[in-house]
């Protein structure tokens, strides 16, 4: 490693040397999993969706320091947008993805005035309130959303007109992986840009930012809009690959879950947050298989333990590992 690139790295990642290594492992693992677990592709696809959703939320909480208890509103909005568009006959997956992203981003943008002002506590209440409204609206608009029954019957056209979604879920996995990779690279560029630096500055010391000429509200509005759009994309991918959209995609539980995942991952650590999503999804699957009745108990215990065992979250552990090996 030359001095210049080491300096560049450190400039970008605040001394978190382990993050690129962890990112490589993450991508290699995702690709390997396709070959290692050919019978679990549907589950793996869900993991990818959860990772995308977690990354979208991490942009808010981990980088910008904005907490939200209603981020699933954008996830569900994206899912419904893709599903409803497909039912009207426009069932190209990329079109649906773009539509979901734009719609969720626009809704996020419209909401920014009430999200960006205020403090953490008011934000928790406001985001919770907004998500409840969206949930109830989706519940009432049965004609559009299917209400509590969800939206089951729609077809998704082949990706790029070439790759038909198959029964084993191979194309679904590859499609989800491609979108995930795109989202990851995009977010990586965002958080390492001057804008990303400004977001971290806002998280560290909001008061100080206007004093160096940084428009805090505008930055947070941009972050919220991007985050909403990406959450919408994650929802769209889930709806398209599972051919289903339902109210639980908008629900409070999913919002709370993603906050847990981001915290477990280590705020602002993209690789850590992705691994946390993976661990969370996997744990949930294992525990609910082992005990359909008491799995939440197991999940609760693991989450509580993680606070004591891994202070900086999984991202913190990753950095620590790396540090010890090279020291």
């Amino acid at each position: 490693m030359t001095g210049a690139s080491a300096a560049a790295r450190s400039r970008l990642f605040g001394g978190r040397v382990g993050i690129e290594g962890a990112t490589l492992v993450l991508f290699a693992g995702a690709i390997a999993s396709y070959f290692l677990f050919p019978n679990h592709l549907a589950l793996l696809t869900q993991f990818l969706v959860l990772m995308m959703f977690a990354l979208s939320y991490d942009l808010l909480q981990g980088h910008g320091g904005i907490v939200s208890l209603g981020h699933a509103a954008f996830f569900g909005l994206g899912a419904y947008a893709a599903a409803i568009l497909a039912r009207t006959g426009y069932n190209d997956p990329l079109l649906g993805l773009a539509f979901a992203a734009v719609l969720s981003a626009v809704v996020a943008l419209v909401l920014t005035p009430i999200i960006v002002r205020g403090n953490d506590f008011t934000r928790l209440l406001v985001t919770l309130g907004v998500a409840s409204l969206v949930y109830e609206a989706a519940n009432r608009m049965r004609g559009l959303t299917g209400g509590a029954d969800g939206l089951p019957d729609f077809e998704i056209a082949p990706v790029l007109g070439l790759y038909k979604f198959d029964f084993e879920g191979r194309i679904a996995f590859i499609y989800a992986f491609m979108v995930f990779a795109m989202v990851y690279v995009f977010l990586w560029r965002v958080v390492t840009s001057p804008f990303g630096l400004a977001l971290r500055g806002i998280r560290e010391n909001t008061r100080r930012m206007p004093a160096i000429g940084s428009p805090v509200r505008r930055h947070l509005a941009v972050a919220y809009t991007l985050s909403g759009g990406i959450a919408g994309m994650a929802g769209a991918v889930l709806a398209q690959t599972s051919r289903f959209a339902s109210l639980d995609m908008l629900g409070f539980e999913r919002s709370a879950e993603i906050m847990m995942v981001a915290t477990l991952g280590g705020s602002g650590h993209m690789a850590g947050v992705s691994f946390a999503a993976l661990a969370f999804g996997w744990l949930k699957d294992v525990l609910s298989t082992a005990s359909p009745k008491y799995w939440q108990l197991g999940l609760g215990i693991v989450l509580m333990l993680s606070v004591f065992v891994a202070r900086g979250g999984i991202g913190g552990l990753l950095d620590h590992l790396r540090f010890r090996r090279s020291a």
Binding site: S10, G14, P194, L197, R200, R208, A211, I212, S214
Partner: protein, 230 residues
């Protein structure tokens, strides 16, 4: 005039701290603001930067009223603030602390590092792994990265070793002579501040009680001390 403060009344919440205060500053001028604790020195700086509540009066930048402009936009005008708390971002590296403030102009990373070689050595340190002197250097360098015309120093020497204070004074002199910055300096160490400045004002209970050349206040320092000592 670079900066005109006309009849400024300012404070926080409902509390009025500065009352009907007026002063002017020319380009490249150095002004020391002296006074006891709690007389409104920091409030003056905060009001100029848009971080206090302005009840009345006008603030003009090169003749244009900027009283209503939000804090972030005042940086674009050319106001650079080095706050008393320094407010370094602890989990950003030294270099990131500088880059986050970067605005186009003559001062870039290289310029900042040329002025503070120590920061270049420490550029990969996190903001909370710095000595007090280094933090102060970083706070000044970060303000320079916004490419200001007028620098506002709030107690820059507080809690620093004499040798560091000397270095910083030297740097502030250079900023005047080589780069033509104007500055306002609020400082408990009145002698240091007067030595750097052209003019000085003494505040008491939110009002200017003395305004003169810095050299006069220095020459009669015993009397000056009686105005500002606790």
């Amino acid at each position: 005039m670079l900066l005109e403060v006309e009849g400024l009344t300012a404070g926080y919440g409902d509390a009025v701290i500065l009352e009907d205060l007026s002063l002017t500053m020319a380009e490249s001028e150095g002004l020391a603001v002296l006074g006891r604790n709690g007389v409104g020195k920091t409030t003056l700086i905060r009001a100029i930067m848009g971080h206090a509540r302005q009840f009345g009066g006008r603030l003009k930048w090169r003749g244009n009223d900027f009283s209503n402009r939000p804090a972030a936009e005042r940086v674009e005008l050319g106001l650079g603030w080095v706050p008393q708390e320094r407010d370094i971002f602890p989990s950003l590296t030294v270099e990131e602390n500088l880059l986050v403030a970067r605005r186009p102009g003559r001062f870039d990373l290289d310029g900042a590092y040329a002025l503070f070689p120590r920061l270049k050595e420490r550029r990969r340190n996190l903001g909370d792994r710095l000595s007090g002197g280094e933090q102060q250097m970083l706070a000044i360098a970060r303000a320079l990265m916004t490419n200001p015309v007028l620098l506002l120093f709030d107690e820059p020497f507080e809690g620093l070793a004499p040798v560091i204070v000397e270095q910083l004074e030297h740097t502030i002199r250079r900023l005047r002579s080589e780069f033509g910055f104007a500055f306002i300096i609020v400082e408990q160490h009145a002698q240091d501040a007067l030595g750097l400045s052209d003019r000085a004002i003494v505040l008491d209970r939110g009002k200017i009680v003395r305004s003169s050349r810095a050299s006069e206040l220095l020459a009669d320092f015993d009397k000056t001390k009686s105005l500002i000592a606790v």
